[in-house]
């Protein structure tokens, strides 16, 4: 199963490193990353594979959200299906 990770917030050193580290810790494989900084704001979108994730997806969502909060970032993990449903016929 694939999920989409989105990260939005003020740019700072080490955002990608900390997000990837955290994901690796739960055995989540990163498939694709697209990232940009707009007017000082960091936005990143990752496609990840959560099939072998060591915790429940709902739990991972909570952990990543907390990780983000500590750095003043909004980090969301959502199942890919919802974006597919909305944007594909």
């Amino acid at each position: 199963m694939k999920a989409i990770v989105t990260v939005v917030g003020k740019d700072q050193v080490g955002i990608i490193a900390s997000v990837c580290n955290q994901l690796a810790q739960y055995n989540v494989n990163v498939l694709d990353i697209s990232q940009t900084v707009m007017q000082g704001y960091f936005t990143m979108m990752m496609v990840v594979d959560v099939s072998a994730c060591t915790v429940e997806l709902a739990q991972l969502c909570g952990i990543m959200e907390e990780t983000g909060k500590a750095k003043g970032l909004s980090i969301r993990v959502q199942r890919e299906d919802i974006f597919d449903a909305m944007h594909r016929i």
Binding site: M45, C61, G62, F83
Partner: protein, 452 residues
């Protein structure tokens, strides 16, 4: 492959435009709970609801997290109690209402619908008992919602029931006068009620429905409003097309959530109700969508046409997004639950007569309207009759949810709290309809040809 614009568009809708799944509602048949002894009947009802719905809230919360979309309400609808309780040897169905309330509390849902009777052609002894139990039931319970269907296109309008419902609404307001007549906010009078509606207060689990089913109600006035801001000044073809596309996206969200929830709960997926349901939050208003089409204030001339376009475009866009669309599907215009409607009613532009015209083209009816506390039962019955007639002739669902707020006069405001919002007290005509309502009997079903 998804592109980043699509992804950030979806996130924007959820984070900034109030896109949410308004409700996942589990419909449960209580037909097998009938018993001569009302206590046994109550026990069977409690056991069945708590067994079927024990995982509803947990599953809803899990899906919320995984998909990252809020599911605002988890609710239950049951078979109309007038049918379930018909076998009981009891004078009042209040004990059943209390049982429903306890079952709802134990499952963690905020509303349970189905304290209902379907009396479009006539009332059984059980229907009368249920109707007369409504005021007390609304006063002693917190989460139970009641509804009565008094008319339909096929049966006409049961004017005896209409007359009684005027009195019942007055009694319900009086018995809950310490809470500004809040009981009336949980009581709907329908014509052409639908059996698979997931939205409260009018949800019940119809007799043609399966044992247990999951229905979903989506929302998203804020998303539609935002989409229309990008087509300012353009012709209505563009407006309609924009609404259709947005409604498609919103409904897809409901479809995927409903499918996932029904699979996890091991019950069939019923329908997506693709209604635009507003909340009192700024930016989540149906009224503001109509104003975005070019009206200075909702309720002015042009409002009915704007609403007709909106209602139709929402349906057209949503139908293709889901394999089963049902419920009330369209635009809701509840006054107290819509910040733009409240403003227009307080400013005096939106009056009851205009709202009635709007109900000819919207998906429901006169919803969450506060009127002065001294409004007579006959006047309320006459308002119900007007609304039922619109539904009957136009082959659509109409409803009346009206609060004759005790001790309040025009200009006052009634606070309901939460999603129910606050309603400005609106004026009604002072001229009496008593003799009209006192006639009783039935208004015959209308002819379905020679349409003009």
């Amino acid at each position: 492959m998804l592109n980043r614009n699509d992804i950030f568009q979806t996130l924007d809708m959820i984070n900034k435009r109030h896109l949410d799944i308004r409700t996942i509602t589990m419909g449960i048949s209580l037909m097998d709970c009938a018993d001569r002894d009302i206590e046994v009947c109550c026990q069977k009802i409690y056991d069945k609801i708590t067994r079927c719905a024990k995982d509803l809230v947990r599953v809803g919360e899990d899906i919320e997290k995984e998909f990252g979309i809020p599911i605002v309400n988890k609710r239950i609808s049951v078979t109309p109690i007038a049918l379930v309780a018909a076998a009981c040897e009891a004078d009042s169905y209040v004990p059943i209402a209390k049982t429903l309330d306890e079952a709802a509390r134990s499952c963690g849902v905020n509303f349970i619908g189905g304290f209902s009777a379907l009396v479009q052609k006539g009332c059984t002894a059980s229907d009368w008992k249920l109707i007369r139990s409504i005021p007390e039931a609304m006063a002693v319970t917190e989460r139970v919602c009641a509804s009565v269907n008094v008319g339909s296109t096929k049966a006409g309008i049961n004017m005896d029931a209409v007359a009684e419902m005027g009195r019942i609404i007055k009694q319900t307001a009086e018995i809950t006068s310490d809470r500004d007549g809040l009981g009336c906010a949980k009581l709907v009078v329908f014509a052409n009620a639908v059996e698979d509606n997931p939205f409260m207060a009018g949800a019940f689990h119809g007799v043609g429905e399966p044992e247990c089913v999951l229905n979903v109600g989506v929302s998203g006035p804020g998303v539609v409003y935002h989409a229309l801001q990008s087509v300012k000044g353009q012709p209505f073809d563009v407006v309609a097309e924009t609404i259709k596309k947005t409604a498609f996206q919103i409904t897809r969200m409901g479809q995927i959530v409903g499918k996932e929830a029904s699979e996890r709960l091991g019950i069939p997926f019923g329908i997506v109700d693709l209604s635009l349901a507003p909340t009192p939050a700024v930016g989540d208003s149906v009224a503001r969508i109509l104003e975005e089409m070019g009206l200075e204030t909702v309720g002015t001339h042009g409002t009915t046409a704007a609403l007709a376009l909106l209602n139709d475009a929402v349906k057209k866009g949503g139908v293709m997004a889901s394999n089963h669309v049902g419920g009330l599907s369209g635009a809701f215009i509840p006054v107290s639950e819509d910040e733009g409607m409240i403003a227009a009613a307080e400013g005096g532009t939106l009056v009851l007569d205009k709202l009635e015209a709007m109900t000819c083209v919207c998906s429901v009816g006169l919803d969450m309207i506060a009127v002065p506390g001294d409004t007579s039962a006959a006047t309320i019955s006459a308002i119900i009759a007007d609304e039922a007639a619109i539904g009957m002739i136009n082959t659509k669902t109409t409803a009346v949810r009206i609060i004759p707020a005790p001790g309040k006069v025009v200009g006052d405001r009634v606070e309901m709290g939460g999603l129910l919002g606050s309603a400005p007290v609106m004026p009604v005509h002072a001229e009496a309809s008593d003799l009209f309502v006192a006639r009783g009997g039935r208004i015959p079903a209308p002819i379905q040809s020679l349409k003009n």
